[in-house]
Symmetry: C2
Subunit: 232 residues, 2 copies
């Protein structure tokens, strides 16, 4: 029986015995070493595998913790993040990390076609029950949303578009894949650079098929479960 199975079983047993809950800290790597008479690398291999399966997660230099249930999310019937989280008994938070004009970013500007103008990047970190779970970069045309940086940006961007600027999202297209985190995203999420994450790239359009915003999301891979339904 391979080691990460043993560790998994041990953690499951302990969790049941001691009533461990989501976010509970598990014994340190050195404790597990003596418990299993194994070397630290072996233990870490097992923990890393459990992490990649979404069973535990790590906080840099603090420890390993039991993963909570995933947030269930429907990218099509896109309801408000706060609503969605609260409905599932989680405490959502949003932190605005930075708002910056983009002077030179050909790949982003290319998304907006010939319609250049200065683009704006909004970088936000979202938490559930205090744990950072997602970093998103939102790109839009500064000219579409004058004075946006002075608005409260920690709520629903969609609602801000609609209420302050009379811009309605009509339809959207998303790509979903597993990829690695870049250094800034990793630092914000509190995970080592290069750790795999669930990546969602989304383009949202108005009723005239004009791109309104371009959105890159990076989710801790144990934090999200997507739900997609085809039309009936």
């Amino acid at each position: 029986m391979s080691l990460h199975h043993q560790i998994r079983q041990y953690l499951l047993d302990q969790a049941q015995m001691h009533g461990w809950l989501a976010h509970a800290k598990i014994p340190s790597e050195r404790e597990l070493q003596t418990k299993f008479h194994a070397s630290r690398i072996t233990i870490r291999d097992g923990l890393t595998k459990l992490e990649s399966q979404g069973f535990i997660y790590r906080v840099n230099r603090k420890g390993w913790f039991i993963s909570p249930p995933r947030l269930l999310w429907d990218p099509c019937h896109r309801v408000n993040f706060y609503q969605q989280a609260r409905d599932q008994g989680m405490q959502p938070e949003t932190e605005v990390v930075s708002v910056n004009p983009l002077y030179d970013a050909p790949l982003i500007r290319h998304q907006f076609g010939m319609d250049y103008g200065n683009n704006l990047e909004l970088l936000r970190l979202r938490r559930l029950d205090g744990r950072p779970v997602m970093v998103e970069r939102i790109y839009l045309r500064q000219t579409d949303f004058p004075g946006l940086a002075q608005q409260p940006l920690d709520g629903s961007i969609t609602e801000l578009f609609a209420n302050k600027y009379q811009v309605q999202i009509n339809h959207e297209s998303s790509h979903i894949l597993v990829c690695g985190t870049q250094s800034e995203e990793a630092a914000l999420l509190g995970i080592p650079e290069g750790t795999a994450c669930l990546h969602i790239e989304r383009k949202r359009y108005d009723a005239n098929d004009r791109l309104v915003d371009y959105n890159l999301e990076y989710w801790r891979q144990d934090a999200l479960e997507l739900k997609v339904s085809s039309r009936k």
Copy 2:
């Protein structure tokens, strides 16, 4: 600069210099060891990280290879797997691993409600350009599809439903998440047990809202990119 970055950069440079393509074998771990004057564990850490990012993949005890482009897949406008793959210049194959009646599987039978009857499990392995990329388990009611096991099962199940049994899929619901592979799935995909994979759970219904089939897919995480559009 962290090691997996160095390795990544080295591999990218080499790939460009030598014109490496998708599925090209990269130097063995021991070769990389001498090249980087690093211990094997350090090398493996780097390779494992590159793997979890979808940049390289492994074949058990054979080596590490450059990942090909991902198959782009829309679970809503569910076109035929073969069609989708060929349109993207990939060579698709399907292997029927087993077809077995399920006598006792409460979790599966529960999906089919009170309407028990013997359920059937169809286990298939799908390849792209010779590489195993996905394992799927399809569950259905034996009574809905008499003699199914005698039909050719390596093509589109949806078309078989429609053409041989006059059963039309009307709508479906999918859940998408990252999880670990069980031993049988891992063995079929040729990866170590417990490796993270992209998991899709799908339920498909007829026009009367009756569950037709229940489908569990396990994708190598570097093999797939999902595309989802909201209605316009």
